[in-house]
């Protein structure tokens, strides 16, 4: 048995060495490994960077758009909240976090510690760095670039603009006309006529032309039927305000006073 093993061992050595000596089997260049490591490191850094950026943008969107404010209407605002939720931003964030985690796992530098520790560490870092970044003016500059003519805005446009599409259950915009049982508002997308005849809760505040409002309700035959409405403060939803301004310019009443 031992002799057989030795014979087999010698055979393997001879075969492998003959492949090496003949040049059929060559050492892979050290630069290939260096490039692989650099590539993996760069991909990891880029994933982390984008995850931090998208976390920051998601926070900024929630804070500066109409999305979270719909929840202040109670259970009736949930549909509008869900409709205006930045799904693309959230999905991109999740993808970049998973990409970073997968690269970290594949790199083999992290196996000494349980992966759950690293995953929590990674998530913590992304959230912390994203939150800090959200307090700077970077997300606002990105958002302004997106709605403006900045070339880099093209990349971020789908993440912001698609979330501003006309919604079935909520409207946020600037009042430009007030009539009997209706108002007309400019939204980031278009001009909407809002029917107030079925408004269940009477407005506590006085609405004036030029005010920004938030309405929840539903669409029927091309008309938005309001169920609840409130006036938004200037700082409540700066993204909506900037988008409306970008689209329609300064406030001009539709009807002459």
């Amino acid at each position: 048995m031992e002799n057989q093993d030795n014979k087999q061992d010698n055979k393997i050595e001879q075969k492998v060495m003959s492949e090496i000596k003949s040049g059929r089997v060559k050492l892979r260049s050290k630069y290939i490994f260096l490039a692989e490591k650099l590539g993996l490191g760069s991909a990891f850094a880029l994933s982390i960077l984008l995850a931090v950026l998208f976390f920051c943008l998601a926070l900024f969107y929630l804070k500066a758009s109409d999305n979270l404010i719909y929840l202040s209407f109670g259970s009736r605002g949930v549909f509008a909240f869900l409709e205006s939720f930045p799904y693309l931003l959230a999905a991109s964030l999740v993808i970049f976090i998973f990409a970073a985690a997968a690269i970290l796992k594949r790199s083999g530098v992290s196996y000494k510690k349980p992966f759950s520790y690293l995953a929590f560490g990674l998530l913590g870092f992304i959230m912390l760095a994203g939150t800090i970044l959200a307090f700077t003016n970077i997300p606002e500059r990105i958002e302004r670039g997106t709605f403006g003519k900045h070339p880099a805005g093209v990349f971020f446009r789908p993440f912001f603009r698609d979330d501003m599409e006309a919604r079935k259950n909520g409207i946020a915009g600037r009042v430009v006309e007030i009539g009997e049982n209706y108002i007309v508002a400019q939204t980031p997308r278009n001009v909407e006529k809002i029917d107030l005849s079925e408004l269940k809760i009477r407005l506590r505040e006085q609405i004036n032309e030029g005010d920004f409002i938030m309405v929840i309700g539903e669409r029927k035959n091309g008309l938005f039927i309001a169920r609840d409405m409130r006036v938004a403060r200037p700082d409540d939803m700066p993204i909506i305000q900037r988008s409306v301004h970008q689209r329609f310019g300064n406030f001009v009443p539709l009807m002459p006073r």
Binding site: D5, Q8, D9, K11, I12, E13, K15, V16, M17, E19, I20, K21, V25, K26, L27, R28, S29, K30, I32, F33, G108, Y111, K112, K113, P114
Partner: protein, 191 residues
């Protein structure tokens, strides 16, 4: 032995650590790779035999391991243990082989049977051949994640640290897997 390095003879070669030898092979003298093969062929053959039962296939797998090891020598970090690195390559080849082929019963030699009897503490009065077959079958039925650390720890005599490097799992997990693997094997055998 012809050598392009300053090594004066076979005795010098023998005292070189695996790590130093790997560094010399990739930087100076590729023909010294034969020494690596001589150092590891018996150990790796013993390890791979647990997964590959056919002698010809075992030879092919072993050859692949040595060729992959050679090709990737620049990927080896000389500050780490060479044996863990080459076992890692063998482990990957074994995993690939298992994926391609159906599971077969393990074949244990007499010494391995003694180890199992002593370490796993099977105090049943089995007939030796019956016990051997039963252990082989139990190991083949066991999940890969429990079987591999058991094999490396008991049969290849690797430390927790080395198994951690070979399997790329935390050291604490190695201990847990070995303990669970032992219990599963014991359960199989006492059934």
């Amino acid at each position: 032995m012809t050598s392009k390095t300053n090594l004066t003879g076979l005795s010098d070669l023998k005292v070189l650590s695996d790590e130093r030898l790997a560094a010399i092979i990739r930087e100076k003298d590729r023909e010294l790779y034969g020494e690596i093969i001589r150092r590891y062929q018996t150990k790796l053959s013993h390890y791979l035999r647990k997964f590959v039962h056919d002698a010809d296939e075992l030879e092919d797998v072993l050859q692949d391991v040595f060729i992959k090891t050679y090709k990737n020598l620049y990927d080896f970090n000389v500050n780490k243990k060479f044996s863990s690195w080459i076992y890692r390559i063998a482990h990957n080849e074994a995993v690939n082989y298992i994926k391609k082929h159906r599971k077969e019963a393990f074949s244990l030699d007499a010494k391995e049977l003694e180890i199992i009897d002593e370490k796993i503490d099977v105090k049943k009065e089995f007939d030796a051949q019956l016990l051997k077959n039963k252990i082989g079958k139990s190991l083949s039925l066991m999940k890969e994640k429990y079987r591999e650390p058991l094999l490396l720890y008991y049969f290849e005599e690797k430390s927790y640290e080395e198994i951690s490097d070979i399997m790329r799992i935390p050291r604490s997990t190695v201990g847990i897997l070995i303990m669970r693997g032992k219990n599963i094997l014991k359960e199989f055998l006492t059934r």
